[in-house]
Amino acid sequence: MFGNPETLAWLILFLPLLSAVGITLFTQRQPKVSALISIGAVALSFVLSCALFASLPLDKGLHEIAFQWLSVGNLEVSIGARLDGLSLMMLLVVTGVGGIIHVYSYGYMHDDASFSRFFASMSLFTFSMLGIVLANNFLQMFVFWELVGVSSYLLIGFWYERASAADACKKAFITNRLGDFGFLLGIIMVWAAAGSLNFAQLEQRFASSPEVMGAMATVAGLLVFCGAMGKSAQFPLHVWLPDAMEGPTPVSALIHAATMVAAGVYMLCRVFFMLNAPALEIISWIGGFTALLAALIAVQQDDIKRILAYSTLSQLGYMIMAVGLGGPTAAMYHLSTHAFFKALLFLGAGSIIHALHHEQDIWKMGGLKEKMPVTFWTFILGTLALAGVPPLSGFFSKDEILAAAYHHNLFLFALAVIVAVLTTFYMFRLVFVALLGKARSQAVAHAHESPGVMKFPLLILAVPTVLAGFWSIDGLFNRQFGAETSAHASNWISQIFAPFNHAPAAALAGIGAVIFGFSLALTCYQNAESDPLPKKLGFLARAMRNRFYFDELYAGLIRITQEFLASIADFLDRWIVAGLLVRGTHGTTDIAGRALRLVQTGNLQTYAFLFAAGVALVLLIVLGK
């Protein structure tokens, strides 16, 4: 029974939903049971995903299963599962990393009053995310896209009684909705022009007649990209992600590192066939710009989670840029490795925050190496991988992006190298200030290593962080999307050197960036008492610290557009439509009533005359045409 891929796929998808519904309805008051159900569901999904991965021969085309959800006229929508290299790898990432984060949450959230609600929301989120991964058509993807939006709303706003969290979840949802507006419009355009929503059918149609979208091809592609802009927090819709750090830290690790924000990149890879050259060009520039912008902002943040949040933005910019430049392989490769090491970094940050009783300011940390050795060493591994130090996983995936940029667009290549320098710089700023040096506050003195249930997830995640470069993840995507890079090396020693053979300039630039960034951080922050940059950079540092004033700019924009229009509409409604016209009618009716009272003479003959006249008038109108 379980050998059948169809059963497996449905089980993987619906187990987390069952868990969410079950917890909500039955085990609200038994927090331990809720946690076990939720962890069990995602763990089982992971095991089944492995089984599915092992049992499907990936090189023999795709497997697709579906049932019809809605069918009216020419609008046919199914809920299905499309099983190919892309979705299977993503399944493993989502359930694997997600499962580890579920376990970690058990420790991190243990004293929270709404433990059950937390796990119900986590399960709902996992279900929605798996729905995106498995989607075989556009509308299914949109449905689960929205569900991911709402479950992240629930998780970011988990501590809803805090005003900041309540504002953050609202902001995240509405910003995502802006992107979804474009996304749905793009989907409708594609459906209207190509007559289908199914990815496989669309791919065929685009392959057989590339002009199917006509003049709207670029517009439709960019509209669909709007969806990715929202979920993957690309400029100009990037403002929600840092605020979303108001949620509990495991949520940040799950949603804002490994899964939800990756959905945008995943979706672009899924619909890569419909993106034409001009659209890809714009996509790569937006990605590159976001990468640079976010890296600059990250340099001047003091909140440990915000640094990681901007770092995530910046890395997502890399992936989006990679989609625009070289296609899905490099982007998906980086997405996978990034999911491992960024989740590790977030969980490490959570471990520190937990130990310091919810202190998040890096200038109040320091001296954690001896206090929390496991957290410290795994955090260092994550940092090295993010910076792109060989032979850790991040080196290989980042190198593919740099190589793609090197081959296609030298300006973006330079930009990507600058971002790599900045990445190393802000990560080692974090390490020098928060982890090394001497203790900077009282809280550190009482800190101690987190319990096992939080420690082991760090250790487990450290494994792929170090080794994922040797698992030929890119080979899997290459098989599906066609090779952008040369054939893969056979043993691991030659794998280390493969980047240098293939595009030596890119590999050397990447390593140079690490060295340069590290030495900058070393000079500025080793044993620093305070941040030296504001003095050196002046206004630039202030702008970076204030996120280049995007939030203020948008607030102003909203005030002069939407709020302004709304107050005009409200004014009109209150005073013109309801006031003058209706109350005016009121007055007129009053006068008419007084006039008509004159007609009410009480004289039967007058009534009879008026009645007859009325009937005659109606007949005249009706018949006298």
Partner: protein, 506 residues
């Protein structure tokens, strides 16, 4: 006898029993009302389940001739267009009766009027005879005015009563004139909708006659549905109405206008309808955008819900105006979905008013902490209201968007903006103000709804979720009839013109 006769008969019987019960037997009165509406709801569910999909002819019919010389008969039956509405009406009726615990004065009169109104509503949607369609509608409408006037709340109660009475009476009157002229002009000598339709299909009305009748029906029915700019009665009227009345009117009775347009105006007057499609598409943007923006500015919850309910009507009009299978089916789906949603939101608003004595959103905050169930239901209602998948509204709205794109591309873009962005802004604003944020000290004593008070909300939420997750329960039933309507409405005598997109062109 048709189950429909029982479905609308039980509440009528209940009204008679309430009238006969002495006024201080309050428990008996309440039990009678709850029992009769419960039976009616269960019968409606049974009928919905037994309904055969795939055929367009009405089912569960019963015809009793009344005034044969004029061709009037008591004729009830359901097809794809009204089966969902009757089910929704019966469910909302039971939920509204459950919510009537808030009425503490003159209960006997209230329950009498409530049950009469329910019977009228169900009768209006079950009737296949135009005379009875109209009669039942009036039977439901008049109690509405009295209930708002007597049991209403708020400072503007009297003005609201005056306004809603004036508007709806004018609307109903215009529609009546249109219907009478239609009856005379057709020459079929019958009020039987099916026969009238057959007759007019065989002998179409002249274009002039159609042009004369259509505006009466469009604006008459349009006013009943709060078509922009004739919408201002709705938010204020609903805000001032007692909760059960608001649930029933906003949820069910309001759909009567749309039902009339769909069932009579579009298929019987196709030539005239075509000239008006562009105008309808523009007016519906008034609902979606303008009223949506007005909703953003509201400071009181009932005004926000009222405006949002007006805004949602725009999607239905857009679906009807697109006049193709997907759009019309989508419009009917929203009619049903919005019924559940409006009843749910007005019910929750009323519950909060009863608990706190205010509608001012700034007085609230963090109520989720004290009322986890009501808070969660409120969040779900807000999410359903901004078109979240999983709730029935999404299915209808997305169908309308897909359908309208080819005929009205620009209007579709605006409607999408209204549905996805403006809707989310005001709904989340409400959630933020009501359920999230710190809890003011004065609400520390609030308690969550008890099991019985939860019942209406659970039923309504359940209905929204079931139809949202398994939309084919509705769409498969609607499709054959929607196909028929579209065929009739697009079969014009004049040379076929694609709806020109005046002011909305590509």
């Amino acid at each position: 006898m048709s189950p429909l006769t029982y479905i609308l008969g039980w509440p009528l019987l209940g009204a008679a029993l309430v009238a006969l019960t002495p006024r201080n037997y309050r428990f008996v009165i309440r039990t009678v009302a709850l029992f009769t509406t419960l039976v009616s709801m269960l019968l409606a569910v049974k009928m919905f389940v037994q309904f055969q999909t795939g055929i367009a002819t009405p089912q569960f019919v019963q015809k009793v001739p009344w005034v044969e010389s004029l061709g009037i008969s008591y004729y009830v039956g359901v097809d794809g267009l009204n089966v969902g509405l009757v089910l929704m009406g019966a469910i909302v009726a039971f939920a509204a009766t459950c919510m009537s615990w808030e009425i503490k004065t003159r209960e006997k009169e209230f329950y009498f009027l409530l049950l009469t109104m329910i019977s009228g509503i169900l009768g209006a949607f079950a009737s296949l005879d135009i005379f009875f369609l109209y009669f039942f509608h009036e039977l439901a409408l008049i109690p509405t005015f009295i209930m708002i006037g007597v049991w209403g709340r708020g400072e503007e109660k009297n003005y609201a009563t005056f306004q809603i009475t004036l508007y709806l009476t004018i609307g109903a009157l215009l529609a009546l004139v249109g219907l009478i002229v239609l009856y005379i002009q057709s020459g079929a000598q019958t009020f039987d909708m099916l026969e009238l339709t057959r007759h007019i299909q065989a002998n179409p009305l002249s274009v002039n006659a159609q042009n004369l009748i259509f505006p009466f029906l469009l604006f008459g029915f349009g006013i009943l549905v709060s078509l922009w700019p004739f919408h201002t009665w709705a938010p204020l009227g609903y805000g001032s109405a007692p909760t059960p009345t608001a649930m029933l009117h906003a949820g069910v009775l309001k759909k009567f206008g749309l039902y009339g347009l769909l069932r009579l105006a579009f298929p019987l007057l196709p030539d005239a309808a075509h000239g008006w499609l562009n105008i309808i598409a523009i007016l519906c943007l008034g609902n979606i955008l303008y009223v949506g923006l007005v909703a953003i500015r509201q400071k009181q919850l009932h005004m926000l819900i009222g405006n949002s309910s007006v805004a949602h009507m725009g999607f239905i009009f857009l679906g009807l105006a697109s006049l193709n299978l997907v759009g019309v089916t989508g419009a009917v789906v929203i009619m049903v979905a919005h019924g559940f949603l409006a009843a749910l939101s007005f019910g929750l608003g009323g519950y909060l008013f009863q608990a706190t004595g205010t509608f001012e959103m700034k007085e609230w905050g963090g109520l989720m902490k004290k009322m986890p169930f009501i808070g969660a239901a409120f969040v779900m209602a807000a999410m359903a209201g901004c078109g979240l998948p999983g709730f029935a509204n999404f299915v209808g709205e997305v169908m309308v968007f897909f359908a309208a794109w080819k005929t009205f591309p620009v209007a579709t873009i605006f409607a999408l903006w209204g549905g996805l962005v403006i809707g989310a802004v005001y709904m989340l604003r409400a959630v933020r103000a009501v359920a999230h944020g710190p809890l003011p000290g004065k609400w520390a004593e609030l308690t969550d709804a008890g099991l019985w008070r939860k019942v209406p909300f659970i039923i309504l939420l359940g209905s929204l979720i079931i139809f949202g997750c398994v939309p084919r329960l509705l769409t498969d039933k609607i499709r054959p009839n929607a196909e028929e309507i579209v065929k009739m409405a697009t079969r014009t005598a004049a040379p076929k013109i694609e709806p020109v997109t005046v002011g909305l062109g590509k």
